[in-house]
Structure formats: C-alpha cells, structure tokens
C-alpha cells in the first residue's frame, strides 16, 4: 500500500473509532481515552514539519467537527505535531534510523521502552493541553490534574494494545544515510 492510501485510511478509521467507540465510553471523572492521535505518532519520518502540522490540524478539526466545538482538539494536535520531531531526535537509537525506517514503531525507535516514552510524552502533552483549554473556560485545578493523569494512562494502555495488535512490519531500507 502506498504511503498516501495508508495514511488516508488511517485518518478515517481512527476518527471513526475515536468518535463512535471511545467517545461513548463513560468513565467516572469524565475521563475519555484518546487513540486517534496514533495517526500523528505513525506519520512517516520524511514528511516535512509543515506538512505534519497541517495534517495534525486537519485530524483535530475533523474530530472537532463531530463534537461540534471547533478548535480544542485541533490545537492539541498541532502542538504535538510540532513537538514530535524534537522528541524523535532525542529518542532515536542511532543516527540515520529515521532514514533507514519509514515511520516510528517499536522496531525503528529501538525497543519497547523508547517507544513508550515517545508515545507517553506526546499523549501527556496532548491531554494536558486539551484539558487546560477546557479548564480555562470552567473547571478546577484538581479535576484537571486527575483527568489528565487518568486519561493519559488509559490512552497509553490502548495505544500499547493497538501497537501490539496491529504490528507494522518495518522494512530495513538501507544502511547508508
């Protein structure tokens, strides 16, 4: 499958799963698990940073349109798309891994722990930014902390499960940089 088709399918599927399955999960403290950000996690290394941000904006805007309050998810998605290259730079196991492999995965990030750190930091960032925007309008501080923590934990759990269920075979393309 070409990169384009693959990403379009991912985009549509993740938005549908997020809105029609996960948004209907009612946990206490109004905690919602977020899994649609996997689209941003799985974007290929070689997309330019501008393109990454535009795609992230479209992703967030699509979910916002379903939820009828534009801006919130778009803002959080743009933030993690902006931060993503910095985290990848820090976490990459050795120089050139981003050209040897197509996209971030357990293998290309060099194991389970680095990948979890990568996903964890971005999920935490996404959730705290999102809930902060909501808390600015109403809500109190402790609720914000509790919501962010629990949402991040549950999202991360789902992300790990998704990662193990749909393991993406990453070909080692070349060892020349």
């Amino acid at each position: 499958m070409s990169t384009l088709v693959k990403n379009i399918l991912r985009f549509i599927l993740l938005i549908l799963v997020q809105f029609f399955v996960l948004d209907r999960v009612h946990l206490s403290y109004m905690v919602t698990p977020y899994i649609y950000i996997l689209f941003i996690f799985w974007m290929p290394f070689n997309f330019s940073r501008t393109l990454q941000m535009v795609l992230a904006f479209l992703l967030g805007f699509a979910l916002d349109s379903f939820r009828h309050n534009p801006g919130f998810h778009a803002s959080a998605c743009v933030l993690i798309a902006y931060v993503r290259p910095f985290i990848i730079n820090i976490m990459l196991p050795h120089e050139g891994a981003d050209t040897n492999y197509e996209e971030p995965s357990l293998k290309s990030m060099g194991g389970f722990i680095p990948y979890i750190v990568y996903a964890g930091v971005l999920t935490l960032l996404h959730n705290s930014w999102l809930f902060m925007l909501e808390a600015l309008q109403f809500g109190n501080f402790w609720e914000f902390i509790v919501k962010t923590l629990f949402s991040t934990l549950i999202s991360l759990l789902l992300i790990i499960i998704a990662e193990l269920l749909f393991s993406r075979k990453q070909k080692f393309r070349t060892n020349t940089i």
């Binding site: 549908l16 029609f20 948004d23 209907r24 999960v25 009612h26 403290y29 109004m30 919602t32 940073r49 501008t50 941000m53 904006f57 967030g60 916002d64 349109s65 379903f66 939820r67 009828h68 309050n69 534009p70 801006g71 919130f72 778009a74 803002s75 743009v78 933030l79 902006y82 925007l133 909501e134 309008q137 109403f138 809500g139 609720e143």
Partner: protein, 287 residues
Amino acid sequence: MRNIFLFIRRYFNFIFFLLLQVFCIYLIVHYNRYHNAIASVYVNEVTGRVNEQYNKVDYYLQLKKANQQLVKENERLRNTAKADFETPDTSVKVVTDSIPYDTLGNHRKWAYQAAKVVSNSVTSQSNFIVLGRGAAQQLKKDEGVIDTNNGVVGIVTDVSDNFAVVMSMLHKDSRINALLKNDPQGGGTIVWDGKEPNYLSMINVRKSAKVAKGDTVVTSGITTTFPYGLMIGTVEEVLPEKSSNNYIIKIKSTANFYNLQHVYAIDNYQREEINKLVEKAKSKINN
C-alpha cells in the same frame, strides 16, 4: 528587509505553528458568536450524514428502550383524553360561542415537532445533540427540545437544511430558567458543572425558598423557549452557597441523556413578534 526574510525562513516552522495555534484559539473563542457561518452549516451536513448511518445500527440495538418510552408516553396521553373525565351534574356549563382554537393556528402559541436524535454525547464538557430534522422541515433556531417524557433536553442552536444541532443541558454554556413547583417563589437558573451526566445544578435560589429532597423543578415559562411547567428534574440535594445568601440545588434530570432517541422541538409562534418588540425597545433606550 533581507534580515526579516531570513528570520522568517529560519523560524518558519515555529511561526507556522504559532499561526495555527492562534487560528485554533480563535475558533474556540468565537465559535458561539459565529456558529451561523456557512462553513459550520456545511460541516454539520457532512457529519450529520455519517452520524445518521451510525444511528441506524445504534437505534436498532436500543429499540426495546425506545419502545418502552413511547408506550409510557402513550399511556400519559391517553390519560389526558377528554373521555376519562366526568364532570358532576352540579357543575356550571360553560358555553363559548367562538372557538378558542382554530385550524389556521391563529391562537396557537406552542407547536411540537417530533425529531429523531441522530447523534448524542455526554462525555465532553460541552455536549451537543444532533437532530435529523432541519430548516427544510420547519425546525428553527432557539426552539426548546424535550424528550418523550416531557423532560427538558436542551435548546436548538444551529440549523442546516436537514439537520439541527441542539445545545444539550449538559453544556457549560447552557442556562435555563427554572422554578420549584411547590414554591413558585423559588426561581433559579439551571446550569451544568461538567462533572456527572444526568445531574444538574440550580443556582441563585434564595434561601427563603421552601425546598425538600424529591421536589419537582419545572421550566418557568418566562422565556420564549419553553412553556411553563415542563419537568426539568427532581431535587437531589440542597447546598448553601458559601459566598452569597443563595442555595445551590443539585438536581437529577428527568431526561435520560444516555439514551435519547425521539425528542420534540417546541416552536413558539409568538417568538418573532416578541423579539422584534424587545429589539425596538432596546434601540430606543440605547439612542
């Protein structure tokens, strides 16, 4: 000049990031004011179609519950039929020689319009409900929405050709005027604190109001949105507000927001005239 271009080129990503964020914040802040924008109507049509497909499956799974609700409503309506009441012989017969209600609807104030819920949410802090009936089917903005058991659900905020978006009572900006049925002196405003679906708060109730657990809270009828006496919920807990001389009353809503399928929108035939009059009065005072 050259330096400016170099600067922009060097920090292009960061500037682009800031621009996108500013645009997002703009959307967040201005949504309520500009929700009639053409783009939003177009987006509503698209998401409405997707939701309709999903709802076909979801509705089938909830048929049993929907049936129960409709049976209950039928029972209530049958009990209000004229044949169920018998007036004793001693009563005075009232004869009106003109009909107070005519088929043209000249005297009619409220009209109920049935609508199917296409999409609904309870998990976010600003929940909306989408109805599969829109401007082409005579649904208008600012109509009140109730469920099949006469429990208030929300207010229509946005209408496209075939769909309407309802601001649910479970929305941080939702404000609905209410009264305590037992003590009409105790009025207040219904808001949602964003913590638990199906539980609302009634604020600004003065402390002299007589209120007990289980009391009924109804719409006040002083706005053009809802007629008097539609049930909002029952009192669950009465708390004094620390900073003022008012109560905050916790209310369990009559409408069950988890499984809404059929609702009624309430059209007020006098709204336009009233709004016009208010506008006129306002412009007079301002000038």
